[in-house]
Symmetry: C2
Subunit: 453 residues, 2 copies
Amino acid sequence: MAQKPTTPKGTRDFSTVEMARRNYIFDTIREVFRLFGFRQIETPAMENLSTLMGKYGEEGDKLLFKILNSGDYLKSVDRSLIDNGDTVRLASKLCDRGLRYDLTVPFARFVVQHRDEIQLPFKRFQIQPVWRADRPQKGRYREFYQCDADVVGSDSLVNEIELLQIEDTVFSRLGIRVAIKLNNRKILAGIAELIGEPDKLIDITVAIDKIDKIGLEKVNEELAARGLSVSAIEALRPILALDGTGAERIDKLAALLTGSEVGSKGVEELRTVYEGSLALGLNAALDIDVSLARGLNYYTGTIIEVKALDTEMGSISGGGRYDNLTGVFGLDGISGVGISFGADRIYDVLLALNLFPDDTTAATRVLFANFGAAEAMASMKLVKELRLKGVSAEIYPDAAKMKKQIGYANAMGVAYFAIIGESELAEGTVTLKNMRTGEQTTVPQTAIYEAIG
Amino acid sequence: MAQKPTTPKGTRDFSTVEMARRNYIFDTIREVFRLFGFRQIETPAMENLSTLMGKYGEEGDKLLFKILNSGDYLKSVDRSLIDNGDTVRLASKLCDRGLRYDLTVPFARFVVQHRDEIQLPFKRFQIQPVWRADRPQKGRYREFYQCDADVVGSDSLVNEIELLQIEDTVFSRLGIRVAIKLNNRKILAGIAELIGEPDKLIDITVAIDKIDKIGLEKVNEELAARGLSVSAIEALRPILALDGTGAERIDKLAALLTGSEVGSKGVEELRTVYEGSLALGLNAALDIDVSLARGLNYYTGTIIEVKALDTEMGSISGGGRYDNLTGVFGLDGISGVGISFGADRIYDVLLALNLFPDDTTAATRVLFANFGAAEAMASMKLVKELRLKGVSAEIYPDAAKMKKQIGYANAMGVAYFAIIGESELAEGTVTLKNMRTGEQTTVPQTAIYEAIG
């Protein structure tokens, strides 16, 4: 026999059980998005490389899957690129298109392309796979789904409050206890300004992002190594040591950042989102965390991150506000705010905590045995009747040995195994075996719907 | 301003309205598949080219989208391939992976790869996009969805009868009147045998497939051009002129093909599927059509095609039985039967016949106006309450001019525009504008759920 074919490295098949569980997650997220007035769009798997290149940094460009042009793809290629082994520039001659790397850049392209058809504010959601030529490792795949909801064309912080409600609703419905962390990019900018190192914003945030992992002293060592002055590091200390309730932290930040315009603006935004969320109520804990720097190069205001409380999994959702989403495509003045759910990590959390509902992977409710042509026809008539009443039902297609048929019913996890054999056929009855209790009853065929009710 | 970015040629964005309509189709199909005991799987967008190549003929190989290898993709390339411009062989050196071309080959790969985990008979469905580097034209895209249901590991004709019930149920639920055409590849083989031209099976079927379009005489001319003898063409005449009810046609075919073993087997299979379907009942017309040759190189038994009756659209669904699905991957003895729904064509039929339900594209039920911080907070509390009761609701994020907010409510098609202004806030009331009737009522905030009921 030939060698078994396989999926490409870093990609996965999803079995019927995995799909049932994944659909439980996607359906929950989709339903909440809709409840909140977000509407779905889809974009093609492939985008022009001109749309994708330069949007994810140099490293990101390398991680784009590029699609070889059709036809004579060598025609317009400068041979010197080949001779010099200039694979990077050559790739952009061989390939005009690539697979989407995330949902954000295609969404920005969508907004610009369809700007005359779109009503602002535009509340869209999108649930589609993305592809990255990353080195595969545990929990990191080359194809994975993103579930994004964004509002563009509105600066109002009402949007942030709404998105936090979405986070809270999704995880409440899934039964996952979470903490939502909240920060604001403007506060980080204010801090950098305050300690006299406005140009070192990135260095500072990269370092303090590690405070949970390596502790304050190590962070300070790293800050020194990154060229921060002793006085700057000293000035940072009270900010990093921030404690108390959320309201207390906000008050302390307000006091500390009073001399920074951008910092004060950030505190004000944070306060509005925080207080609004508490007034509405959240099941989740809401934590003010100035060390949160997620996607810093990208976000310009609110930064959100969600972690599961009862298992170590890192972030399972997050997002933030970004100014000028579409500026890179020549359309200025469109700001937005959005969140993204990591379906794979949510899957792992639900599995680890045994939170998938029991009926998630349930198959049809009734499987009919097959004893041959005449019995099968009588069974199929009942199957049809049940389906018309909305009950999922099926018949084993072959008149196989009963042991095999029952084994199938067991493996599929059906609720009832229904038998119309010779005597049931003669008497117009059906025998129902409750697969959970093992109990067996014979009822008139006309009473089957009630019997399995 | 820069030039507007666009989607790659032959690919499409789906707007919120288009997605709502597409989801109506996908949800209907998915629900019916589940009702019938089919379970969903997904496979990766990319497959190893070794899995895909050679499965769709030479033309198909050319239409595969191939993905450029990562890293130094020139490393192991023989320069003579470049110098000779041998783009076909070069492509298989530059690319190890390609995008799936259909759902059938990945499914066959899936069955072989996971054969130890799969319980036979395996009833799977799959709804995913496929990609073909075809020349784009009206109604033909480079990315489109396929919706497939197949049973593998069972030779029983019960499966065919079940699949016809699925066709009937899906189109009944969608409100599309259809005719289902039925044939059997073994009958076509029997006919070729009968007229003494067993090697010309393909020629014969290609020609008679056109009988509806060009008429009997032109078909006979074409058969002569393809090298059929005058006596063979004469022998074919009664078969092509087959008329009467389905039962009569089957009887005539049985009589005509009595001398052919394979032909008689085909008639017997056709009769079982036809009579079983009539006994169960179908809303659709069920037509015996020996000129139906869909996917002939592929199917080995039953052939199914579905056409919409009230609009010219060609086939909107179809399928058939194939032996040895997985033989090409070294696993023999797995036969199957399946059907596929063409979502794009079904979309066009529903649109042309105005069959999309009115509420398909409905947005949230209630949109709250935004008059500023205090009023917005009171509104958001009601929004939250409605959502907890399962009512989709939202608030306009900005305290914009009322005309703009009402315009948005109109554009989104919400049922109610809810207003908590200064006086409503003071009085604990909410004013509800029914957007369809224009009627306006003011009710206590505590009574909003009942008021919009």
